[in-house]
Amino acid sequence: MTEARITVNGQEAPIAPAAAHTTVLDFLRERGLTGTKEGCAEGECGACSVLVARPGVHKPTDWVAVNACLVPVAALDGQEVVTAEGLATPGAPGTPPTLHPVQEELAVRGGSQCGYCTPGFVCSMASEYYRPDRVAGLDAADDADDVLDADHRHEHGPNGFDLHALSGNLCRCTGYRPIRDAAFAVGDPAADDPLARRRDQAPPEPVATRYTQDGGTFLRPGSLAEALRVLRERPEAVVLSGGTDYGVEVNIRSRRESCVVAVDRLPELRGLRRESDHIEIGAALTLTEIERRLDGEVPLLGALFPQFASRLIRNSATLGGNLGTGSPIGDSPPVLLALEASLVLAAADGERVVPLAEYFTGYRQSVRRPDELIRAVRIPLPQAPVTAFHKIAKRRFDDISSVAVAFALDIDAEDGAVRKARIGLGGVAATPIRALATEAALEGRPWTAETVEAAARELRGEGTPMDDHRASALYRSAMLGQSLLKLYTRTTTEAVSS
């Protein structure tokens, strides 16, 4: 293999001598690109946001904003990165640079006060600026009473700018209003904008990487077969698929692994296939890619995505990673449990399909063997007609759930009976679980207030929620029941209004 190299703001540089666990953030700062800031080192504040050229959904290449604090620099071997410094066009010697349109809007509208978060906002904003399907003038229905519409109206600018693009960026000074004004004021990229033009070219190919430095090795196998062989040979290897959890461990808990195997660019893990009886989603597609490629095809996933962490995280995180870490408070498992999803586990000697309901075995433990990879997630068809995802958290954008509840219900249109109920829960036990007793309390019964109230009582007793700094056990338990009552209210209100 050739020497690992990265292109930053158009200039190629060797990754060595950075240690194998070195993040893009530390790498950039070491090189003097100190515009990229560390605010939290766990992907929460966005001060380290940078742009990375990735395979696009609507054009060959997308400029994707990611948290530089969570990405090992070795993972960007052969890739192109642009920082806030690289967005401005350098002026003649002795003259200031010409600002990028997003920089200009932020600067003139008072979008920076202390300025520390600003380069990160610039990059997140630039990513949305260059989103090919950002279309001006899509007005939401102006129904002030409808919470969903109200969300949409306030979170999308007249220029098509989706504020969720900034959901992973924190500012402690401005209160956000001038930043929103700047975001909603940016126009379209000029025809000769080099980053806009770059979108029309092929993205940088993933590069097979073997980078060893300071006792650690970063491996990016070139194929699934090779990845599986490595996992068989090196059972201590840690699989990286997005790395937004691993990066936190490296930074906050000083985790140092001898071998990390990145699988998030393997083509075999990045398919999206529609079969007659299921949709198969590659485990290494980022959540953003799934969101944009499905475009509402699975409504329950559509409800999940805006509430899953932040756009910056969704630009890196994958379903394989979220299921692979097996956290009981991951946001995708409740939804996938309600959808009755299965996982395709691949090993060197073949594949097996495991229902997600049988996958988790304990706190951060699963039936997956160390030599197995999650290759894909299968969602059976047809989907249940009534679905909902309720995430209870302190903050609406980018928070960890106290509890999460996903519903997939099949209610007979004729007699109003619940034919089938599937309910996934997060945050109430050592693993994500199905609310089996509640499902039983609903199935075969009419979808009425009486049934729902009885089932809500059942739901409050599911799992063993605990007290912690996010919520009390009592509140968690109450919210389980409330989520069903809220869903019922929504379905009956909709019935009335239609």
């Binding site: 100190t34 515009g35 929460e44 600067a107 008072g110 920076s112 520390y116 610039v122």
Partner: protein, 824 residues
């Protein structure tokens, strides 16, 4: 119009402009302290040795294992301190302690060739501890009688007579949380030693002079051997007023001992676990109203959670007492204060500096009592406002000279918010939405400007004019995002009569302006602006003499406007550059030291009486919220604010301060939730919310969907530079309107007339329990004293849910996932 407040024609102050560093911010070119590291050769990295126990005496500290770690250069301990081993000014804050006083207390620092080496070295240091019992919560400290510092008592009128005259008497308790500053840039310093042993410290500090003083006393050298510079801070909010000093001293000590540059930067968890926060408070109160709802008497005790050392707790408590009246006339008051000593970080300055805590107590009282009095909360508030022209004074004896502004902003914000129409719309919405309720609340503020301690109310500046006409200004204030430097450049350009681009500003350094006060108390512009103006006036007077000769007119007839000197009634002109050059050749001094002291202040801390404030800042906010009755989740639908900044020096900057302060205040009151491990397990005293994933700041989702800020018009303040008023802190307290709107929305789920108690922060869970209590007709809260029971409006949740509302530090399991975000 006073000399201080009068503006010349074509003044640069008053012009709306972005932050002077905006272009550097957006391109990433703006440098912060830690950005200097890669530009400095041979830097050593400092890493703290934190002890993860809440309390105990150190019986052994073994550093040898650290020295065996490759790349470790030295371990700093108390034995290395040549001067005074104290990070503060009260000799109660040892820089290298013998006793661990809170979970995460740093007892030694390791210097390494790399941060990784220093970290591994710190992990290798062995500390043995004789563990002691720890008081973690405010309640535990009160129970144990663990206090430090002063016991201020503020008294006015005859409280007993006031209660005797009251038709309604209520009493209650209120426990509310502190707040983490969460400046985006964590604490950082870089220390260097020059060839002559001069110590140069780059520090992210709001108080360079005090950083200098403490570095000097730790090193045992006079102040003139230490220079401190602050380029800019990535936010301060009070968290860098006292807290940076010890850290800077560690870096300076390391540099002194090794001869190499030493850098430290706390990571977020270190910053959260080692540095002080806004004080949480416990308040007990009794209040009497007459039959019309006018306050007759208030008897209250405020206990601030000081943490392990005194730090700034005494002045914070004093300001809390001085603000318990907010906008309300309280004829008879007795308010006592205490500072609890707990085994937690040493709580410190935070935007508002106790003022918000004092004001929150009275706003909470009024919010809870209004339904019991059968009054609309707005009506109750308005009835109790200070009235103009009646000679009313605050409980500490200061006349309220602009009482008319309390009512003016109150009325204006109602107009701006279309209050009457929207209240009707809200009533209609609530009538048809059983599961969702809206409410609109209006609250006002009155906030005293000046340091309570009179001596701090002085500022200095150094203004240099070079032969080519360019101007360089230095002043004692620091830039943390508040736009102070922008305003100072505007002041200089205005006073000198030149375009803004002729003025440049140099970073804040202790060798330019000595003995400065902290950039704090919202007073940065008043003090440094007064000093910059004074320096520029000295220069202007000299230059006018020169111009007078050149223009053939008396100096009193010469004006410099927009860079051109002209005499009244004459067409002759003299360009600024020519004027300056001429002055140089005439041997006229082209530099001046400026000075300003706030006149007319008086404060007696012993009797707790006087007029400590130059003036009051005023404002009012109208906030509408919507609460989901299923979950307690809510959103801020619309906020209207009218705020009094005097005549604004820089409207875009001021509006930014108002909006940012409001959202930060809303964060404190609704979202930001500091939780400690209060159980008896091995991690007792550990901060559970020690990362951005667990301590949530307001994000875009908390921003008001509609946000309208108007600055009060024709609001000249005679007593401050160019008629302006301070703006840094006061708007934070406009966020009381969010909390009161949530209280009213929760109440809307129940029958009318129910007093709703709301925990602080009012998280969705807290709001849910408030909604549940309202639905149940209240929890027997707010009984009247007159009925014979000592009515208590406690802060815990509804019956059967005690300990779940989040106000009282509930015993919590140590969660394995405490810091792990769910995303993978």
């Amino acid at each position: 119009m006073s000399h201080l407040s009068e503006r010349p024609e074509k003044a640069v102050v008053g012009v709306s402009m972005p932050h002077e560093s905006a272009h550097l911010h957006v391109t990433g070119a703006a440098l912060y302290t830690d950005d200097l590291v890669h530009r400095t050769k041979d830097v050593l990295h400092a890493h703290p040795v934190q002890v993860m126990k809440a309390h105990g005496r150190i019986t052994a500290l073994r550093t040898e294992p650290a020295l065996a770690v490759p790349g470790v250069v030295r371990v700093l301990t108390g034995a290395d301190v040549p001067g005074v081993n104290d990070a503060g000014m009260k000799h109660d804050e040892p820089l290298f302690p013998d006793e661990v006083m809170f979970h995460g207390h740093a007892v030694a620092w390791v210097l390494g060739e790399t941060l990784e080496a220093a970290r591994l070295g710190a992990a290798a240091v062995e500390v043995e501890l004789d563990e002691r019992p720890a008081l973690v919560t405010l309640e535990e400290a009160i129970e144990a009688g663990s206090y430090h510092g002063a016991r201020p008592l503020m008294e006015t009128g005859d409280v007993d007579a006031g209660f005797a005259d009251s038709a309604h008497v209520f009493s209650g308790e209120f426990r509310f949380s502190g707040q983490e500053h969460f400046y985006l840039e964590t604490h950082a310093a870089l220390a260097l030693i020059d060839e002559n042993e001069q110590v140069f410290v780059q520090s992210s500090t709001q108080h360079p002079s005090e950083t200098q003083e403490i570095v000097a006393h730790v090193l045992g050298v006079p102040a003139h051997e230490v220079t401190v510079q602050c380029l800019r801070m990535g936010g301060g909010f009070g968290g860098k007023e006292m807290q940076p000093h010890g850290f800077a001293a560690v870096a300076a000590l390391g540099a002194k001992l090794t001869g190499r540059p030493v850098r430290f930067r706390l990571n977020r968890t270190q910053d959260l676990t080692m540095s002080g926060k806004r004080h949480g408070f416990h308040a007990t109160w009794r209040i009497g109203f007459d039959a019309d709802g006018r306050i007759q008497a208030l008897d209250a005790t405020l206990v601030a959670d000081g943490g392990w050392s005194l730090d700034l707790s005494e002045p914070v408590l004093a300001r809390a007492l001085c603000h318990i009246d907010n906008t309300y006339w309280i004829p008879n008051a007795r308010v006592a204060g205490r500072i609890a000593r707990t085994n937690t970080v040493s709580n410190t300055a935070f935007r508002g500096f106790g003022g918000p805590q004092g004001m929150l107590v009275i706003e909470d009282i009024l919010g809870r009592c209004a339904p019991l009095l059968g009054l609309d909360p707005m009506e109750l508030r308005e009835r109790n406002f200070y009235r103009p022209g009646q000679g009313q004074t605050t409980p500490y004896g200061q006349p309220v000279t602009q009482a008319e502004r309390i009512g003016a902003v109150w009325r204006q914000v109602q107009d701006d918010a279309h209050l009457a129409d929207r209240r009707r719309a809200i009533d209609a919405f609530n009538a048809t939405h059983p599961h969702t309720k809206r409410a609109l609340a209006v609250t006002g503020i009155k906030f005293g400007i000046s340091f309570n301690l009179t001596a701090f109310n002085q500022g200095g500046a150094l203004v240099l004019i070079y032969k080519d006409g360019s101007v360089l200004i230095n002043h004692g204030g620091t830039e943390m995002g508040q736009g102070l430097h922008t305003k100072m450049m505007q002041v200089a350009a205005t006073t000198l009569g030149i375009p803004l681009h002729r003025v440049r500003l140099a970073p804040t350094r202790t060798d330019k302006v000595p003995n400065t006060s902290a950039t704090a108390a919202s007073a940065g512009t008043d003090l440094n602006g007064g000093a910059v103006k004074n320096a520029c006036e000295q220069l202007r007077e000299r230059l006018l003499q020169v111009a007078a000769t050149q223009l053939g007119a008396p100096a009193s007839d010469v004006r410099v406007v927009d860079g051109v000197a002209r005499a009244l009634g004459s067409d002759k002109e003299l360009a600024w550059d020519d004027l300056v050059r001429t002055a140089y050749f005439q041997r006229v001094q082209l530099s001046a030291a400026g000075y300003y002291r706030t006149e007319g202040l008086h404060w007696d801390a012993k009797t707790f009486r006087g007029s400590p404030f130059k003036y009051f800042a005023h404002g009012a906010a109208a906030t509408e919220v919507e609460v989901d009755g299923f979950t307690g989740a809510y959103r801020i639908r619309r906020v209207d604010i009218v705020h009094d900044v005097g005549d604004s020096l820089s409207p875009m900057i001021d509006i930014g301060q108002v909006e940012g302060g409001f959202v930060q205040g809303a964060g404190w009151l609704t979202l930001e939730d500091l939780r400690w491990d209060t159980g008896d397990g091995p991690h007792r005293g550990r901060l559970l919310t020690q990362a951005a994933s667990t301590y949530k700041l307001p994000s875009f989702s908390e921003m008001p969907e509609e946000f309208h800020v108007r600055l009060m018009e024709n609001a000249t303040e005679e007593g401050a530079v160019y008629g302006s008023k301070a703006v840094g802190e006061p708007p934070l307290m406009l966020a009381f309107s969010v909390r009161e709107a949530l209280r009213q929305a929760a109440a809307a789920f129940g029958p009318t007339g129910v007093s709703v108690e709301l925990a602080s922060p009012a998280t969705p869970e807290a709001v849910y329990w408030a909604v549940e209590a309202a639905r149940g007709g209240g929890s027997g809260a707010g009984r009247k004293d007159a009925e014979g029971t000592r009515g208590r409006t406690g802060t815990t949740g509804p019956t059967g849910t005690a300990g779940t509302t989040g106000t009282t530090g509930t015993g919590m399991d140590d969660v394995p996932e405490a810091n792990v975000p769910s995303h993978a």
